[in-house]
Symmetry: C2
Subunit: 601 residues, 2 copies
């Protein structure tokens, strides 16, 4: 039983607003690399993706959730629907959407591709998961692979003939990549013999393409310990040999019973049990982590987008439910002969919906701002502009990954709550999206890791330059908001908040310089929280400005803009005022959990 | 794969501390009704319960989660383990633990019984769920039932021969009990013919006892509309007739596929499809809701306790995992030849654990404070003392129900997060407890309903008398804390916070009196949040006082007390400072979600 009106996954009105009113996506076509594009080509792509997401992908979501992959005779058998879905996804051109024509791509700006991805993820995150992983693997080969690897592996991945994975995590190491142990022994033929095991490898086996390539971190014999001794290898499940494709001694040792993302298997992989697993070096020796992290940052943006999408589809489900479910009467109204009102009329239900909207649309706006910087970082003609955008992208990445994962999870829980007792049953979908969302705070670097990355590296990078660039961007948005006639209090609050964050960062950075690393990083979770509130406030201010501009143009569509202003008001009234307390926790070095000895628990 | 050391469910050291150091449970034995008891009898009961919980109940939890009830041929078949577990639970004396000797009970203070319930719930909440529901139904019959109902129905429930349910919710009404439609038509034999349907009825059918009694809300023909026309009936699945027990035309129309609490079915019930369902009136006509609410308040305390217990078992699982899982090295330590450290050494993991501890042990302390007031309200010799305790209990009930449901859910999510990727799999238990916990914000009155109850009724009850009593209790705790040498800043913050809450309540109450009901109640969710923080601060201050007293006595066990002081510090540094902003939201009447029209979303 889903609601009567079809779930839109994301609001088309909102994604258009974000692309063409908050941002000016068409202006990206002024960059030489995007010169072939125009708003018309963007709309063509998005139109196809929206249709495919709603008509093909979304109707398969529940079935793939209910019938996860099975592991029999050493092979993973995924839901048979994937045999139809994957070719459909490939046909949409998604694998190479952002890639250049040289590799068969259409060189679409990431800003536009991100919107497309969001629809696909909201419709069926697991089905799209194979695409995302394959893009990541192929892109690594495109940038760092030898001509042979590009021709033999990358091209097949981009054509959709194979799929790819990212194989980093090992059972004994988890987040601590310095402790990766998988070995690579040079062989006379120029390849390496790989031995070891990996865990939590999504999509490591399936039965809808004939091969899978695992981009694998391993240590070449004799390499230095730690992260400086890790190299990157392409390790296919089947390898070319004498004109044939033979088994490459990569075994699936087991499948994890995940609680969500049930359409894509998470595997334990075992390399070289028979001593015959070959890997091809990708990029320079011992530089594997640096190579991998180029993709990892893209992967983190994708996780953030997934968080937004998973919260979005649930938000729209809750919204429709709240509009159609009659229950109770307004506070004070006691005439029981009157029919019950729709629950959206109750203040607390509206609060839950507005909070979801604020998280979903604020999160999407943040992800698109990050994608925009990625487009500039990769395609701006001037080096300085690329460098500037790159720094800002680096700064935004951990926030854009974490905010949707953490607050998106809260939004997903609210979507379930709006459904009341029905929400607690698997007859309704919100519980499934809640399970799906929970992974996003864990994979591609946990929330804890992101906090350390943000505070320990990103905000202090290049002498705080990234943070200065962020402040400039915010200042430009404040200026636009003032011109548009946005509530002056929000503009002032935005300026003050960015200032406070800057001062705090300076104070913490000084602690770090003075060697007080533990104290500097102690409240990295609180720093992440306050920075997220600030970054999303920036995006809500930009949306408020665009909404005011829209209202000033007059005409129809006032409702949409008024809703945007309400959500912006919510963020500035409810979230932004939380920043000072979080700043105080970071600055004061509050020490309850540092003092707490393990044996005191 | 559970952790190596057995999960204690709750810490015995902590529950003893709460009973005998924070509270003085033995002093309850000075009340005449409890005169037969002593600390020794309490310890006997708790010893049996702890053993049974750990050795019998907990080992069945995973199996009952994995194999939920099935619905075949119109009957519900529950996990066969229940045929062994239910008699074991009955044998422990749980059904009548708090009931007087007249009905076969041992008249145990609720304060002690609550601790016992917490272990049982932490071990296997569904198995204990049958007990809790049966107690509720039997207690209603004990208080309001005719002698015949007490003999024929209540006695069998208390002896464990039957089980009971509470049948309030209807598909079209949900939380809006005023819209209950189930009909009761008087019959010549003095019973009523019941027709209608109910939904989400936990334990409405099972196959381990021969009968189930449904305490059912229905409308006698011609009764006034709304809540003043609702009566309470005992409706058994099988009824006595001519010396035999015959089918009473109560059918299970379906079983909801719940996402947690999988050991106990949630049913759709259909009454009187064949026109032959008999119900026996319980209490006066048209007073059913008042009768039901006596039990409902007990049920809400039990939900709160369940929230604490479900968070507790997960917290202990995470704690053990964090102590035994090596990964990474301390910030700054780069010597990779050293083994990895346990993850509990990482500040952010300790933060997650301390937050769980603060929620779990603060929540337990709040539940025991509420239970304590229930003991006084029911058993203090002087009427004034009973009245005072009753008012305070009423005030605390919605908070004691909601805080563990909402923050317990957050704690459960953190327990999963501590387990990293493993936490996202059903091979580990945290995900199951996370599913279980989600129900607690929905059943027995949603969080939204509790917020309206707290702000719209409880804090303004009797001219604010309940709130004055609360303030007096807090003041007594502050005095004790000062004597014990607790951090003066916490004492001052506690006093100031209670004062601010009092002023806010006065302001909001005046709004209500002036007819501004919508504005008064608009931020009931924020009011619930700030009141919860305050009430839990009160309990952490009491624990800090008891810890300081313990440290002053000297001897072993310092670690435990130091841990308590760290958790209290955490609460006063991290949570209490959030109150002013929440107060401001309530007071200012921030109107983002009131202004938001349904069509603006």
């Amino acid at each position: 039983m889903t609601s009567a009106r079809a779930n839109p996954l994301l609001s088309d009105r909102d994604t258009d607003f974000q692309l063409y009113e908050v941002l000016d996506a068409a202006s990206l076509c002024a960059l030489p690399d995007f010169a072939e594009h125009s708003r018309e080509t963007f709309e063509l792509v998005l139109g196809n993706v929206r249709r495919f997401s709603r008509e093909v992908l979304f109707p398969t979501y529940r079935m793939m959730d209910a019938e996860p992959p099975s592991f029999r005779d050493g092979r993973v058998h995924v839901n048979p629907l994937m045999r139809r879905l994957y070719p459909g996804l490939v046909e949409l051109g998604l694998l190479t959407a952002t890639r250049p024509p040289e590799v068969g791509g259409q060189q679409l700006p990431l800003t536009v591709a991100s919107v497309a991805s969001a629809y696909l993820m909201a419709a069926n995150l697991s089905a799209y998961g194979y695409v995302g992983l394959t893009i990541g693997a192929a892109h690594l080969l495109e940038v760092f692979g030898s001509p042979w690897l590009r021709e033999e592996f990358m091209a097949r991945l981009y054509r959709g003939e194979w799929t790819g994975t990212m194989a980093l995590t090992e059972p004994q190491a988890g987040s601590s990549l310095a402790d990766v142990k998988t070995r690579a022994t040079p062989a006379p033929d120029g390849t390496y013999r790989i031995t070891g095991s990996k865990i939590f490898i999504s999509g490591a086996d399936q039965d809808f393409t004939e091969n899978v390539v695992h981009l694998t971190l391993a240590r070449i014999d004799g390499a230095p310990p730690g992260t400086r001794g890790i190299s990157l290898f392409a390790v296919p499940t089947r390898r070319p040999e004498g004109g044939r494709w033979v088994d490459n001694d990569v075994q699936v040792a087991g499948v994890i019973h995940k609680i969500g993302w049930k359409g894509i298997p998470s595997c334990v992989l075992s390399y070289g049990e028979a001593g015959d697993c070959r890997g091809w070096l990708v990029g320079p020796e011992n530089r594997g982590l640096a190579c991998m992290f180029q993709m990892m940052n893209e992967a983190r943006i994708m996780v953030g987008l997934n968080g937004v999408s998973t919260a979005s589809v649930a938000y729209h489900e809750a919204l429709e439910y709240a509009r159609s479910r009659p229950q109770g009467r307004p506070a004070g109204a006691k005439d029981l002969s009157q029919p019950q009102t729709a629950i959206i009329e109750h203040a607390d239900v509206r609060r839950m919906l507005l909070r979801q909207k604020a998280i979903v649309e604020g999160g999407l706006s943040l992800l698109l701002a990050a994608s925009w910087q990625a487009d500039l970082a990769g395609h701006a003609p001037e080096e300085e502009a690329r460098r500037r955008a790159g720094l800002l992208l680096d700064l935004l990445t951990p926030v854009a990954k974490t905010f949707p994962a953490e607050k998106g999870y809260e939004a997903n829980a609210l979507a379930l709550q709006v459904h009341g007792g029905y929400g607690y049953s698997s007859e309704y979908l919100p519980e499934a999206w809640l399970r799906d969302q929970k992974l996003n705070s864990i994979h591609e670097g946990t929330t804890g890791i992101q906090g350390l990355d943000l505070l320990g590296r990103k905000v202090v990078a290049a002498g705080g330059e990234a943070l200065r660039i962020f402040s400039e961007e915010v200042a430009a948005t404040v200026a636009r908001a003032r011109r548009a006639g946005v509530e002056p209090g929000w503009c002032t609050a935005m300026e003050r908040t960015v200032e406070v964050v800057g001062e705090l960062t300076l104070a913490l950075g000084s602690m770090g310089m003075a060697g007080e690393v533990e104290q500097m990083l102690r409240h990295s979770a609180d720093f992440m929280e306050l920075f997220s509130i600030t970054a999303v406030a920036w995006r809500w201010l930009a949306q408020a400005a665009a909404a005011r501009e829209g209202l000033a143009r007059g005409g129809a569509g006032r409702d949409f803009y008024e809703g945007k202003l309400c959500a912006a008001q919510y963020w500035f009234s409810v979230e932004v005022p939380r920043v000072p307390h979080l700043v105080e926790l970071c600055r004061s070095g509050e020490d309850s959990y540092t003092r707490m000895h393990p044996e005191w628990f």
